[in-house]
Each structure stands twice: as C-alpha cells, then as structure tokens.
Subunit: 434 residues, 2 copies
C-alpha cells in the first residue's frame, strides 16, 4: 500500500456507498469501504425475504466480490462508531482509521417516535437480519395458532398488524394477505389460515403518502381486494407483546410489524455538525459537511438544503448521491470545479401484491397489472448479478403460478415470539441445549 | 379429529420419518409428524450450504407443504423429549402425546468421543443451523486473516482443519480448497487466499473408509490434486480454540470442522431398551422394539440384528426403513403378516470437489469426472421440488463456470469465531447493541 496516495474512506456498503466506491474506479487513491455486513443488500426486495418468497442470498452479494476488479479498493468488515472531523479519523470497532476524504453513507434505521420499548414487539425491516427475524415471526404465528387450545389465543396469533402504510408497510400487508389466503392452503388441520386478519394501520390520512392522491386510492382498493383491512388517520398510542391500541380500539395481535418511521443512523450525530429532527446530517448543495469540503454525506443520512428540492429516501436517489460524491472527489483531486448535486427523479414505484402495484412517472400514472410489470422489470434489472436475476425470476414465476414461497425456513433459535409464551419457549430452548 | 382411528406418531421429519409418513398415505389412521424444525432438510447437500454454494431454502422444504395433500397427517412443530413405552406416550415440549403406533426417527448427532468440550471449537454438520454456523466460521476466517497484523495469527486464520475423512469431511475439504484457490481470487488486498492450508485428518488408515481400497486411493489423489493436505492414521488427541494436536504435531488452526463421529439422537436412550455403543436402539429384523411391536425405530437411530447385514447411515437406507415401517403398520391394521426388513444397497457415492467424485456400484467402480456426473444427477434427482432442482442446477452451473458461490452471507451475530479474539468480538457486538 503506498501512503503517498490520498486515502478515501467510505462508510456503508448500501446503494450510496457502493455507488461512490464504484465511481472511484481507477482513481489514484486508496479507497477503503467499511461495512458491518460482508454483503450489499438489495433493500427494495427485503420484504420478499421477510415473507419467505426469496432466500437471503438472492438479494445480497458479497461486497468483496462486487469490487474484486477494483484494485484500489480494500473492503473492511467492521462497524464505524464515530467520526472525528478535526483529527480526520474514523473509529472502526475501537481502531482509528485516518482519511483524506470521507464519505458517510450509513443510511437509516427504525424510529419508534420516543417509544424505543416498542422495538422488541414490533420489529422493523432494514437489514437481512431483520428480514429473517420477521420471517420467523410470521411463520411461527401460524404454527402457534395451529397449536393453540384457546380461541382467543388462536385469533391473536392469526392477527397481523402492520404499522405504517408507506411502501414497506403496503408490500408486507399485501404479501401477508396472499400467504394467508393462498400459500398455506391445505397445510393446517386445526386452523384455516385464510381466516387470518391482516391490518394495515396508518396515522396519516392515506396509504402511500409519497404518491399522488389518485394512486393512493388505487393502492387502497388493491390492498382491500387482496384481503387487507386498511385503517388510516389512526396513530398507534400503545404497543406491547399482546397487541396495540390504535385510536380507540385495542387490537389483540401477536405479530406486529413496524414500517412507520425511520431515523438516521447514529453515526451521523457523532460528526457533531447540524442535523435535522430525524437525525440526518445537514450538508451543502455539494453534499459536503459545512466547513469540511473533504467530508461527504450520501444517501438516507443526508439532509440537503431546501433549494436542492425534496429528495426521497429511495435507492435511485442514494445511488445518484454516491456517484456525485465520487465525481466531487475526482474533481478535487484534479483541481476542477464541480456544480451542486442535482437529483433526477425517474419515478416512484410501489408494489402491493400479486399483479398489484402503483407507478408514478409524473404525467404517466399506472396502477394494477401494468404497474406491477414495470415494478417487476425494474427490480429484476437492478438486482446485482445474473444468477440472482435468474433465481429471483424462477422464484417469482413459481410464486405466480402456484402461490408457493420457496424460503419458508425457520430455526428454533429464531422462534421466540412476542407474547406470554416467550418465557416458556425460551425455557424449552434452554432445555433443548441449543 | 375422530378418536376411533388409531393414532400414529412419527418423531423426526428426516428421510426415514418423512418416508414413513408418505407411506401412510390414505391409511385409516391419524398420523402426527413431529419435528423441531418446520422443514425437511436434504442432508446430502448440507456441505454446499456450509460452503456458501447454496442458499438454505434450496435444500429444505416445509414439512407442511410436502404433506399438504395428505389429509390424515398433522404436522406439529416441537421437540420430542422422551418416550414412555408403558404408557404409550411421548413428551413433546412438556406435553404428553398418546400413540397407538410410534415411529422414532430422530437420527444422529455429532460425537466427540468423550470430549464434548471440543464441540464449541470444532462444530459438526448435521442441520441447516450447523451449516450456517460453519459458513460463518469459514468466511469470517478469511476476513480475520485480511485484518490480522501478525503473520502467525494470519496463518492460523488461513489454516482449515477438517477432522474425519468420511463423506462429509472429504466434501468439506475439497470444497474449501476450491474456495481458497478460486472463489476468493482477487477479492483480498493483504492476503492471498490461495495460500490457505486445508488439512484433512483421519484417525483410520484411509479416506472414505466405507469405500473399497481402490476408490479410497483415487479419492485421496483427487483431494491432493485439489490442494488438500491429507493425513491418515493420526487421531486428534487435543483440540481447543487455538488449534489441535494431531499425533505428534500441534497445528495452529482457527477453523476446525468436525466430521469424525456420530452418535444416536438422545431420544433413543429414553426408550429404556437396549442400545449399542453409539446409542442406537436395538430393534428386531422388523424394525420394532423388542416386546413392543407397536414401536418402530427407523433411520440412523436403528441398530438392526446382525443377520440383517450392515446398513450404512445414508439417505437411501433411511428412506427404505421409513417405507418399511409404514408397510408394517398397514399390515398390522389389516391383520396381514409382513416379512423382515431387507436393505437393498444401490451403491455408494461421495463427491470430492470440482469434477471429482467416487462411485461404488459393486462390480462397477467409477472415479473422477464420470462419478461426479453420476453424483450430480442423483442428487438433483432426489432433491424435493422442481424449483429447488432448477435453482440448484443454476447455482452449480455458475459455480462450474465462474467458481462463484452465491450464498456468501454472514451476519455480525454469527461472527464470534474460535480463538482469543472471541471475547473482543463479543464485546464489540455487545457495544453494537444487536
């Protein structure tokens, strides 16, 4: 490793960080990419892993493998704890790493609006680990319902509450309804999975608030056609391992999934510069931290000035920011000027379920089957790796024809569900000695 | 559920148990299948999951789904703790289940020959959970080697010791050598994965002891061609988190995998009848427990009388025993006699690595490419589910052409490896709060 070349540290191997590293291909610099996972995750399909439609490896690729032909890049497995802007150092698992240029792209995590204690009973969906935990909860709920002796208990296990009707909440609700009504058909002897209730609850006035009104209405219709019960204008006021209070109603639900809020990754705050109320780092129109032109923030963690317009927290925006950061570093190294970051919005897509989706391309608005085809094509196209694309297509084709979901694997160690059975299960697992 | 029909309890959804349940299709009885996992695992390909070649769902299928069209079958998720032959009851997670007929097919687990403390440093490969734990160890070892500052430490992380040269040990060693030499090419910056040492150690005089001498020699040659260092006639005398003592040598290896011994599942002993030294339950030539014609034992757990001949612990034998138990119950219900169980040996197959395998069909003995094609065809054919077959074929085709392995996913929670870094890592994970 030569030390005369500038060192670029990139924290986070998501869409923003990975695009930045790829954009630095061939640059005369030592690039180090740090991530706590060894893989890049295709987040838009996380809900498919959570609902047992896809295996984890189908939507993940090892960062080392993606970057193997970029000799100026070193991949480091570890978690960034804090950034010291003055010393130009990042603390990675207790070890200080110096940088000349820094790109922080650690994304976002779940937000429970001051109720962090809800996290254990209502998991969110941000990583593959989250997806596997949610998969285990969903599949276990049907198992517990089948084993339940009490009718109330059975009903609580067969009630699925999804909080938040953004893209993730809508995807989870639509897919859960399909699983209950079709996938599990004929598999149980004591319960009818089709009687399961899937509730989608939104505090705001409509589902998919980022979409135009007309598409929100279409989305709601499609959800209801799939069997989802949609309730809008109702915030969650209480939540525990027995269920939730939504407005005036108490809902007994053993499975509550959280898709209501996101907060910026905690690394942002350690920069010690201004953040917005979601914890996102305020940056210049050139995505750099004020007073530190060598430090960039990209992706969900970045809060741009108002004149940059509203930038949605979606993969294409993160990619564009990552690529811009790489261009900015290239420009600086070549002593060239560079204009501000400009976000180009190509459109918004949200899938709802089987042949149901909405698409917003400005003047062109689609819903239903056509939107679903657009969604499917786009997501297969942007998946990394030929193998993944092929395998995902096979899985989807099978799910389409037979309603089967190929990844219905859970382990006893994952099975501790919310609810009073928890201690009992843990005791059983302890006795099992594994 | 009618209670007038006899109740058949089947413990274990492996090859034996699942074949028994399938064999009871249409029988006028209530069949209950109990397994601690919700899925049947295709054990012959576990090593592919352990070596990141296949995703878990590719070799597993939900038991409920496999049996959905058998209305006389109820699947129950739970772990059998003990059997009470007199009361005709099985304790499943603390709840007693009555039976009229019982088939015990709980298989085998790892045996450390009186050194149970070795288990944590040398995991074995019996379940999907084992496979994912081994995958994490293997992939983490290369990450630690890349991060190591000390040459000795680096070498220890790059030394992989496989204990036991039966089919599993040979498969693991051959695949590990391929990963080190090919899969990880160009992905690391500080280490050359091709310098990794893969050692296969066997206490007996030769590899694949269940095969004829000539094929053992062929297998060893093929292993050495793939880059595996083979040592026979050397028992492990000590093992800890730093490595192992093999004969007179101390080997510093951070990754030790155990493929040396199996013991019968502990449920067998709770029957309170005779067992052999491996803990297998002694049964009659009709696979029933002496004095209890209503209780059968099938698969790896069964120890047959000498006149039944030697029955290898392989999937085809387990399937045959399972089917026999179903036939025996059918015969009893119809008051028909049934002859003793007869094992039909179709042949033995063991794969070694890329285009390397051995096959023993009695007079016909194959090795190398041809044996490998036979092995591949047989394993794809016997995989459950069309989707799985297709996806596995795609994965293997890709691995064949590009040496890529599509399932290289590890999570921080899996990363605690053997070795003195363990506490440090656990501390990091604790601080990470997940």
């Amino acid at each position: 490793m030569t030390s005369s070349r500038p060192k670029v540290l990139v924290i986070g191997g998501g869409f923003a960080g990975l695009s930045a590293v790829r954009g630095l291909h061939g640059v005369e610099a030592d690039v180090v990419l740090i991530d706590r996972y060894n893989h890049h995750t295709f987040q838009p399909l996380l809900y498919q892993v959570a609902t047992a439609g896809l295996a984890s490896p189908s939507i993940a690729a090892p960062l080392r493998h993606i970057l193997r032909d970029q000799p100026n890049v070193t991949v480091l497995l570890g978690e960034a704890r804090s950034v010291d802007l003055q010393a130009r150092q990042v603390d990675i698992d207790g070890v200080s790493h110096r940088y000349d240029y820094l790109i922080v792209a650690t994304g976002s995590t779940h937000a429970y609006f001051g109720h962090d204690e809800w996290a254990q009973d209502a998991p969110g969906l941000k990583t593959l680990e989250d997806a596997l935990a949610i998969r285990a909860r969903i599949l276990t709920a049907f198992e517990r319902a089948e084993a339940a002796e009490d009718a109330g208990e059975r009903e609580a296990w067969l009630t699925f509450l999804i909080v938040g009707a953004g893209a993730t909440g809508v995807e989870l609700a639509g897919t859960l309804a399909e699983i209950a009504r079709h996938t599990l058909k004929r598999e149980f002897r004591r319960i009818d999975p089709a009687t399961a209730k899937v509730l989608l609850v939104e505090a705001g006035p409509r589902v998919l608030p980022a979409f135009p009104d007309s598409l929100s209405i279409k989305a709601r219709q499609q959800l209801e056609r799939l069997g989802v019960i949609v309730r809008t204008g109702l915030p969650v006021t209480h939540l525990d391992d027995r269920g939730a209070r939504i407005g005036q109603d108490s809902i007994a639900a053993r499975t509550v999934l959280w898709a209501a809020g996101v907060a910026a990754s905690p690394v942002g705050k350690t920069l010690g510069v201004g953040t917005d109320q979601a914890g996102r780092v305020r940056v210049s129109a050139g995505l750099s931290v004020f007073g530190h032109p060598e430090v960039f923030v990209a992706g969900d963690l970045a809060c741009l000035p108002e004149e940059s317009g509203t930038i949605p927290a979606i993969a294409p925006a993160a990619k564009q920011m990552g690529r811009y950061c790489a261009r900015a570093i290239r420009a600086t190294l070549a002593s060239r000027p560079i204009g501000p970051f400009r976000y180009r919005h190509d459109g918004s897509l949200a899938t709802i379920g089987r042949m149901a989706a909405v698409a917003d391309f400005g003047r062109l608005r689609l819903s239903g089957l056509l939107a679903w085809w657009v969604w499917l094509t786009a997501h297969v196209y942007f998946l990394i790796g030929f193998r993944n694309r092929l395998v995902v297509l096979i899985d989807w084709a099978e799910a389409y024809w037979s309603y089967r979901r190929g990844a219905r694997i859970i382990f006893p160690s994952q099975r501790a569900p919310p609810g009073p059975a928890k201690e009992q299960l843990q005791e059983l697992q302890r006795r099992a000695g594994r």
